[in-house]
């Protein structure tokens, strides 16, 4: 269990860094994220866990959307559905918002949104077994 606590703490920190601009609503997503045990967080470099961590041109598969329901629906209508592949493309000067290629179209998201779109862990990760 110690490991999970560590896991939670480190995710907490990284999220805190990502979302400095964001205020109140973050606690929820952080709590939800802390139960995401798929990531190989101990061995650097860690696999990207959210869309925001993907580098330009890398691809990732969406697992779930940790956003309020109406936002999730709009995102899904734009193509961000679990199971779909997303590839980050160019960004506005300064690094955000970034354009993502998903389901045949290109959609721009701010980092705060992208960091709540959780990626499916690549296979053969230690935490994978815990997932039902």
């Amino acid at each position: 269990m110690v490991g999970y606590n560590d896991c939670e703490t480190s995710l907490w920190l990284s999220l805190g860094e990502l979302d400095v601009l964001n205020d109140s609503a973050d606690t929820d997503s952080t709590m939800q994220l802390s139960v995401n045990r798929q990531a190989n967080w101990r061995n650097a470099p860690a696999a990207p866990q959210t869309l925001a961590q993907l580098k330009e041109g890398e691809s990732g598969t969406l697992d779930r959307l940790d956003v309020p329901e109406d936002v999730a629906r709009r995102l899904m209508e734009l193509g961000f559905l679990p199971g779909h592949t997303v590839v980050p493309a160019r960004s506005a000067p300064g690094g955000e918002p970034r354009v993502y290629r998903v389901d045949g179209s290109e959609v721009a998201l701010r980092r705060e949104t992208a960091s709540r779109l959780i990626l499916r862990a690549p296979s053969k990760k230690p935490c994978q077994a815990i997932e039902p």
Binding site: R73, L75, S91, S105, A108, L109
Partner: protein
């Protein structure tokens, strides 16, 4: 979660249609997701036979047009808002659903539906087909952008798709006009009542949530041998330039500067032409009519007043030509992307960007467009700042003052002259006031969480001449309508006030007229801004609409013998100090002189509280800033 909605939809849709009188026109609704080319098709089908209105009771804009078919019958086309689904969550979706199910008051239930989808992105766009087809209305599924699909190596078996969906399918290119005859054929068929409904081969999803509809769309696509096209190469190439970390913002600035420079330089010959036309016709009327009160009203009141506003039409059209090119080409979405970080710093969200951009045309449609913002506080903040954006009604007075007081010199080499730079500065000033106000609002009374920014980047496309011409036609209609109504009435009222009370049966000197008295009465208040009583008359008349001030000047100075715009410039040079001129520009940048905007804010916010606060705030800001501007110029701060 939406099964009950779709059921109720079906129930209404399948209910027996009461026998309707034979005279009732055939109504066809056009629906499609954003960026599917819906407007292009609508324009293609209706041409100039269209008008913009609001759906009754709500502020969602509806465009209604008439399409003439080759059997000489007419079809009423209703353009519905662009939606991704029919889940009644936002007002747009609610309106779309209500119209399609015949629950919208005063809008007849459509007899048929044109569902337009982007054939290059069919997987995602077919998602909307599920809720539309389950309404069981005669539907033509239009796959648009056929030219793109084939040039990028995509394929679709339309016959198979039609049997999969149980609805006819037409592969067209709305911008080029290819295949549009199939749309007319369909409408001829439905208006004659010969179209029969066939059940879809692949059953529609019962629970219409997004993942299920998307899965259904995938299966339909596979069934119809849909081959998605390769990614748009040119869009990638252009984005590499337009979204380049260094060149992107530079191009952005160059585009903006170029637009303003061209508006000033390019419109000049047209404007001069129009001006001499107005002048000549005025002289002609003056020469044929007998001297008297009627001639004076017509020439001084109507011709000088309205004519002095109409000469600005070319510049306004040129601005809309550029906005049209930027929007239709897809560059505007990139500009929104580049601007987003700045917007976020001021507490505004991405969705505020589009209404604010359209506020550059006019605040009224912009305030209506805020309906797409789900967060109530963000929406109110956007409504409150929208009138700060430089709307086209400000342009006549801006052009007039700038031309009169700023000498044209190169400012940034040959790219930007001082006059265009001054205009650009006024746009920046309005924008600055808007974002500072937003910051104030969002950090105090309208504090809320940030809502996410999601913006689809459409592929770059070549704007079509047809759609650009239609836009400019629309705009000139609006502009001339205002000139013919609000401004005409104001000009006539002003003329009357300037000619009464009669002294010994003769019109008085303007200074002694009722208009003059009003002007003198407000003079003490506006003196600190550097305005005299004549400017005061203009300011009061401009509360109705901003352009009216130019018409008022036209009437006032017309009575003194100068009528054309160059004469107006000269008259203003005598009337205003440089400080006063600068103050007048600043005042117009900030003040909320627009009846229509006040009315629409009252309607949208449901009371007089917010429009009153907004009017007071903007007037105070305008007054104080204009005073500062006047004092600053007078004390030589800018020399």
């Amino acid at each position: 979660m939406s099964d009950c909605h779709s059921c109720s939809g079906c129930a209404v849709a399948t209910a027996p249609i009461p026998a309707r009188p034979a005279v009732r026109p055939h109504v066809v609704a056009i629906i499609g997701p954003p960026n599917s080319g819906k407007s292009t098709l609508f324009n293609r089908l209706t041409g100039l036979r269209q008008k913009v209105a609001n759906f009754p009771g709500v502020t969602v804009e509806q465009r209604i047009g008439r399409a003439k078919m080759n059997n000489h019958r007419e079809v009423i086309l209703v353009d519905l808002p662009g939606v991704y689904s029919l889940n009644p969550r936002s007002e747009d979706e609610q309106v779309t659903r209500d119209v399609l199910t015949g629950q919208m008051q005063d809008v007849p239930k459509p007899d048929a539906v044109l569902l337009i989808l982007d054939s290059t992105n069919l997987g995602r766009h077919l998602v909307l087909a599920a809720p539309i087809l389950s309404l069981k209305l005669p539907t033509l599924v239009i796959l648009n952008m056929a030219d793109d699909l084939s040039s990028r190596g995509g394929q679709i078996d339309t016959g198979e798709l039609a049997s999969q969906l149980g609805a006819p399918v037409a592969l067209i290119s709305a911008s080029k006009g290819d295949g549009v005859e199939k749309v007319f054929q369909f409408m001829v068929g439905t208006s004659a009542g010969t179209t029969s409904l066939t059940p879809p081969k692949l059953e529609l999803p019962i629970l219409q949530d997004v993942p299920r509809c998307r899965q259904w769309a995938r299966e339909v696509g596979i069934g119809a041998a849909y081959q998605a096209p390769t990614p748009p190469l040119w869009t990638r190439r252009l984005d590499a330039v337009f979204l380049h970390p260094v060149f992107g913002p530079l191009i952005f600035l160059a585009v903006v500067a170029g637009v303003f420079q061209t508006i000033f330089r390019g419109a000049k010959p047209l404007m001069d032409g129009l001006q001499s036309l107005v002048q000549m016709s005025g002289h002609w009327i003056g020469s044929v009519l007998p001297t008297g009160i009627f001639r004076s009203l017509l020439v001084e009141g109507v011709w000088n007043g309205v004519g002095s506003v109409i000469v600005f039409l070319p510049q306004i059209l040129l601005l809309f030509l550029f906005i049209g090119i930027l929007e239709d080409s897809g560059y505007l979405a990139r500009a929104a992307l580049i601007a987003d970080r700045t917007m976020a710093k001021f507490g505004l969200q991405g969705k505020s960007f589009i209404p604010l951009l359209s506020a550059y045309a006019c605040a009224v449609p912009a305030i209506m467009a805020t309906r797409t913002i789900e967060s109530k506080r963000d929406r109110l903040a956007t409504i409150l700042i929208a009138p700060f954006m430089t709307c086209s009604a400000r342009l006549p007075i801006y052009f007039l003052i700038i031309a009169a007081f700023i000498k044209e010199r190169p400012f940034l080499g040959p790219f930007l002259g001082t006059q265009a730079a001054a205009l650009l500065g006024l746009y920046a000033l309005g924008f600055l006031a808007a974002i500072v106000t937003a910051r104030l609002l969002k950090s105090s009374v309208l504090k809320s969480e940030r809502t996410p920014f999601m913006l689809e980047m459409p592929p770059y496309r070549m704007p079509t001449l047809r759609s650009l011409v239609l836009r400019m036609y629309d705009r000139s209609k609006v502009f001339l309508h205002r000139a013919g109504t609000v401004i005409l009435v104001c000009a006539v009222v002003l003329w009357v006030l300037a000619h009464l009370p009669l002294q010994n049966g003769q019109p008085p000197n303007i200074s002694d007229s009722y208009a003059g008295m009003i002007g003198h009465a407000v003079e003490p208040v506006i003196k600190p801004l550097g305005f005299n009583w004549k400017i005061g008359i203009g300011l009061i008349s401009s509360i109705a609409a901003r352009e009216t001030i130019v018409a008022t000047f036209g009437t006032i100075y017309g009575m003194e013998g100068t009528s054309d715009s160059v004469g107006l410039q000269k008259a203003l040079q005598n009337e205003l100090t440089p400080g006063g001129a600068f103050a007048l520009l600043v005042f117009f940048a900030f003040a909320m002189q627009c009846m229509s905007t006040i009315a629409v804010v009252r309607r949208e916010t449901g009371g007089w509280k917010w429009p009153a606060v907004q009017f007071a705030y903007m007037t105070v800001v305008a007054y104080v800033c204009a005073m500062v501007a006047n004092v600053a110029v007078r004390s030589g701060l800018f020399t």
